[in-house]
Amino acid sequence: MLVLLFILFGGLAIGCAVNVVAQRNPLYCAISLIGVFVSLASLYLMLAAPFIAAVQIIVYAGAIMVLVVFVIMLLNVEQDERRQIRVGFLVPAAVVLAGLLIGEVAFFLWSVSPNPTLPPSDIGLTSSIGTNLFTTYLLPFEITSILLLMAIVGAMTLAHRTGVLTPNARVIPGAQVLAASEIDPSSSHEFPTTLATGSTTEAARILEISSPRTPDRE
């Protein structure tokens, strides 16, 4: 029974993983990835680790993939056009890596003898995870937390970076469409101009605005 379930979910995980790579529509890829996560959670559940299984679903399938789907929907990414794939050195590299992987798996299968009388472990249970996390591994846990906090602060800083633009000016990467008066109200330019530049500073230079004002310093 357990073997059947393992084959089912293992097969599902591999199938979904292949689908993630094979699909051209980014949203189908994302949905396949959710399928991978759900299958992995089922496998964890069969390994008597219900807590890890639940966290796998909540964090990966429920939070991270929602953000990925959200971004795909927000940007409305079109179907990726099938283009000539430049293979070159990739094929031999893939063959070598696949050989390494198969060799590794074969090594484990041959050298490690299965021990059916393994005592039931409590690694995956909630209490043992909590105890270990807050006693033995407290320092790594806290360091990881601070790392994540730094990532959040960094994301906030990047999202809130206004530079020389007023809040109602639009920034398009690669080309900037903005009225010169928005950069510098005292400038004589009145009409919106399209500039193929990557940065606002350069746009200001082309528009001959000597000292772009910064809203931050007001």
Binding site: I34, A54, V66, V69, F70
Partner: protein, 355 residues
């Protein structure tokens, strides 16, 4: 497999079928109750023509949904368009199995293959609460994908709004449950209910964590996309939001999912905060092992859920809708800090042995 294992599996399926049928019936009548109560609040009658007092209205509606033409938009993404309502309904129904709706039922005689006690829960799960949160978080995809696959601006806006709203309020929802978990010391819903059996079955966790309860109540309304948080389907702005392009039975599935979600969040609120199946003094009156005690407890559980359902309908009839920036500010700047404060308070009180 021996016959015992096969019979166990069959019994499990029977239990799931029975629970799903009961829940779907209650949900059907919740729809009717909502329309009648809203009528009462707004000074009109509501549907009262089909059957006695409108009692057959849900079935008439169902018949109508089945007979309607199923229209699929030409430019929709076919597969996901079909998948979305399935995900929504499935995720809503899947949480139903872990809630204990009564104490162990002690039968008068030992029935072969069943035994003499029946636990009134479909599946006993060590991390039941996390399972509920996990399945609920997957339910977001139903709405988000419905909005995307319809290929309609309004649907897409509804889908985007709902995913932003749900991941924002999921945090407050999850954090509001940590206080009760700290007090119960378990993620197992059965154990959480049993810890509330002290004081003759009136040691409900709402008495110890009232702030968490309020946070949960608000976040739960937002999670089910109901008024005043029904921005994903704001009819004044978005036609009908994420289900604009859905018709017939597929629309009914979304409708059903919303009401089942309403039922499950009420069930979770009852289980975590209002003592689950604990009815004060019922154990003293009927005795621990009597069948009557199990019956009274199950009815008490149901009544508490019905109270929450009524509360949701009442709120819908009373409050206007939030604006989207108000919604986000409220969730992140008020509800989340409040939930964190509640955890801090509960943990401190537990640390000093007050609770």
């Amino acid at each position: 497999m021996d016959s015992q294992a096969i019979i166990d599996i069959v019994l499990r399926f029977v239990a799931i079928t029975v629970v799903f049928t009961i829940v779907l019936l209650i949900v059907a009548y919740t729809v009717l109750a909502e329309r009648r109560v809203l009528g009462l609040i707004q000074g009109r009658l509501g549907p009262n023509r089909v059957g006695y007092g409108g009692m057959l209205q849900p079935f008439a509606d169902l018949l109508k949904f089945i007979l309607k033409e199923d229209i699929v938009p030409d430019k929709s993404t076919r597969f996901i368009y079909f998948l979305a309502p399935v995900i929504a309904t499935m995720c809503a129904l899947m949480t139903m199995i872990v809630y204990p709706f009564g104490p162990d039922l002690n039968l008068p005689a030992n029935i072969p293959y069943i035994g003499s006690t029946i636990p009134l829960v479909v599946a006993h799960f060590d991390v039941g609460l996390l399972y509920v949160l996990g399945v609920t978080s997957v339910g977001v995809y139903g709405i988000a994908l419905a909005g995307w696959s319809s290929n309609n601006k309004y649907s897409l806006m509804g889908g985007l709004r709902s995913s932003a709203q749900m991941i924002s309020y999921e945090l407050a929802l999850g954090l509001s449950l940590i206080g009760p978990i700290l007090l119960a010391g378990s993620l197992d819903l059965t154990k959480i209910v049993e810890t509330q059996s002290r004081w003759h079955g009136s040691a409900w966790l709402i008495l110890f964590t009232p702030i968490s309860f309020i946070v949960y109540l608000i976040a739960a309304i937002a999670e089910t996309n109901r008024v005043p948080f029904d921005l994903p389907e704001a009819e004044t702005e978005l036609v009908a939001g994420f289900h604009t392009e859905y018709s017939a039975m597929k629309f009914a599935l979304f409708f059903l999912a919303e009401y089942i979600n309403m039922f499950t969040v009420s069930m979770l609120a009852t289980t975590i905060f209002l003592g689950g199946w604990n009815v004060p003094f019922a154990e003293d009156i009927f005795g621990r092992n009597s069948m009557l005690f199990a019956l009274v407890s199950a009815i008490g559980f149901l009544l508490k859920i019905i109270f929450f359902l009524f509360l949701y309908i009442w709120i819908r009839g009373t409050l206007p809708r939030f604006r989207f920036d108000q919604l986000m500010n409220f969730g992140w700047k008020f509800l989340l800090p409040l939930a964190l404060f509640s955890i801090f308070l509960t943990a401190t009180l537990i640390f000093f042995n007050v609770l």
